[in-house]
């Protein structure tokens, strides 16, 4: 009984300690599970020591070994699966953000490019002039927000387009998804990639170049 009490206390301390160190419930449960594993080995050995009949000892040890191995398999599989799913969900989120940003930034640029190359030959409008004409109030430093909704009407992406610079021959737009989680410390704690999805688009008379910042 004393041994059980000691191991219970140890498992609780490991669980709480690991949780507050990592903030990951699975790491915490793993720490407590490791203590439980050691206890189970000690328990099976103690419970089957002489004068316990050898025949039963072998049986019980075999069943205990198979059970513990199966629990460990399930435990580890679930651990990898849940972490994989969490990372995957964030990755899918980033993909959606990048696709929407690419769509927003490129659509604005395409309109400008078409109008620029279709302008009358006598026109002296620069690329930046055409961009400002089609996007009123979009002087360098300004920001436009495009909001996208899911089929259920839920706000899913707030694509922020920031006009970084607009020279005669080049317009640079910066896109960022405002709805992505922004508390970098959370990502750092969870050991994940830090920051919001950001993309930069350079528009020149020759075309557009889309670059990933994050």
């Amino acid at each position: 009984m004393r041994l059980l009490t000691i191991f219970c206390m140890l498992a609780a301390v490991m669980y709480v300690g690991a949780f507050f160190m990592t903030r990951d419930p699975e790491v915490a449960v793993n720490a407590a599970g490791a203590v439980a594993l050691i206890y189970l080995v000690v328990l099976v050995t103690t419970a089957t020591k002489p004068p316990f009949p050898k025949k039963f000892r072998v049986w019980i040890m075999a069943v205990a070994f198979v059970s513990i191995a199966c629990v460990a398999t399930s435990w580890l599989t679930q651990f990898y699966q849940s972490h994989w799913q969490r990372t995957m969900l964030l990755t899918i989120r980033n993909t959606i953000s990048h696709n929407w940003m690419a769509d927003t930034l490129t659509t604005r640029s395409l309109q400008t490019l078409e109008a620029y190359h279709n302008r009358p030959q006598s026109s002296k409008e620069s690329l930046a002039d055409v961009f400002h004409r089609l996007n009123p109030g979009s002087s360098p430093g300004t920001t436009v927000m495009d909001t996208f909704f899911s089929d259920e009407g839920r706000k899913i992406v707030e694509a922020l387009t920031h006009v970084e610079s607009a020279a005669d021959s080049e317009v640079v737009l910066l896109g960022r998804d405002e709805l992505s989680p922004k508390q970098d410390s959370i990502f750092a704690v969870l050991g994940m990639k830090v920051g919001k999805p950001v993309a930069r688009l350079r528009l020149t008379a020759r075309g557009v170049k889309y670059e990933f910042e994050n």
Binding site: C8, A11, A12, Y15, V16, P25, E26, V29, A32, G33, A36, L43, V44, T46, A47, T48, P50, P51, F52, P53, W59, I60, V63, V66, S67, A69, C70, V71, T73, S74, T77, Q78, F79, Q81, S82, Q85, R86, M88, L89, L90, T91, T95, N99, A102, S109, L110, L113, H117, L179, P181, I186, V189, L190, A205, R206, G207, K209, Y210, E211, F212
Partner: protein, 291 residues
């Protein structure tokens, strides 16, 4: 027959009793009780609140991690503070992995020794054995089945996700190609563009029926940058086609993974692969998942 007691002194047993319990029968009983236990937890959700009384604690913890992922996906900050659910999971660890096995095994030992000595077992021993057995039955009785099922689910999820990820990757890359094609369309030929003709698209390899994104001399595939090592994508094939009057451009992307229809005839003569097509006009683009 001599049996060694715990204090080391030999003890005479008059007659060797028959095994008090057949272990395989005991194990079957545990499996049965464990099945009932799991069934009850699945059937009546409110019982899930009693996780501390004996359901696999690692599943509860995994649920919390997946919930964090769902929060991140929704653009919310996951709550990383200590909650009641964490206490339940801790209780679950203590009860199902420490206390219940101890109750079960130590009392089982006592029962067997009592029977071998032909002495009656105390009521406390029998009660402890039953309570311990019931509490750890969901884990130790059902363990082989849980493990097999878990591995199956894991493999099936990976297969499904890989196929869907490949389709998403091809779709995202096609979107990029379509945008690039539209940019190309508007740029005059003297600046390296198409001058309002799709047919002017030149692929570096010279083959518009089988080229990679690198052939187009643009930034790399969007998914490759985002997904990286998490879900590495095999290179896809792309096929460009234009209508006779050059008003519509069709780009088909063929992935490496098998799609939903394993008999689907892909445009590059393969069978059953993921395929997505985007139809592009100067002002629009429309995507269709073929397989």
């Amino acid at each position: 027959m001599n049996l060694k007691t715990e204090n080391g002194k030999p003890q005479e047993v008059v007659e060797m009793a028959k095994p008090p319990v057949k272990l395989w029968v005991l194990w079957l009983v545990l499996v049965f009780v464990g099945t009932l236990y799991w069934f009850a937890f699945v059937k009546w959700e409110y019982l899930a609140e009693l996780r501390g009384l004996g359901v696999a604690p690692w599943l509860g913890a995994a649920g919390m991690v997946i919930r964090q992922g769902v929060n991140l996906f929704s653009g919310e900050i996951p709550d990383l503070s200590w909650q009641a659910a964490h206490l339940w999971t801790l209780l679950s660890v203590l009860i199902t992995l420490l206390i219940a096995p101890a109750l079960f095994l130590l009392n089982l030992r006592q029962l067997i020794l009592d029977r071998l000595r032909n002495s009656a077992s105390a009521k406390r021993t029998i009660t402890g054995f039953i309570v311990g057995g019931v509490l750890c039955s969901p884990i130790f009785g059902m363990a082989p089945f849980i493990a097999v099922r878990q591995v199956e689910v894991y493999q099936s999820m990976h297969r499904g996700q890989t196929s869907q990820a490949n389709r998403d990757a091809v779709t995202a890359d096609l979107h990029q190609l379509a945008y690039k094609a539209r940019v190309f369309y508007f740029v005059p030929t003297n600046l390296g563009g198409g001058g309002h003709r799709w047919k002017n698209i030149q692929v570096v390899s010279g083959n518009t029926r089988d080229f990679s994104l690198d052939d187009l001399h643009y930034t790399g595939p969007i998914l490759g940058k985002i997904w990286g090592d998490l879900m590495p994508q095999s290179p896809s094939k792309f096929i460009l086609e234009t209508t006779k009057d050059d008003t519509v451009l069709t780009i088909s992307g063929i992935g490496k993974q098998m799609g939903n229809d394993v008999k689907f005839a892909n445009k590059d003569s393969q069978v059953g692969r993921v395929q997505v097509t985007v139809t592009v006009t100067p002002h629009t683009q429309k995507t269709q998942e073929d397989n």
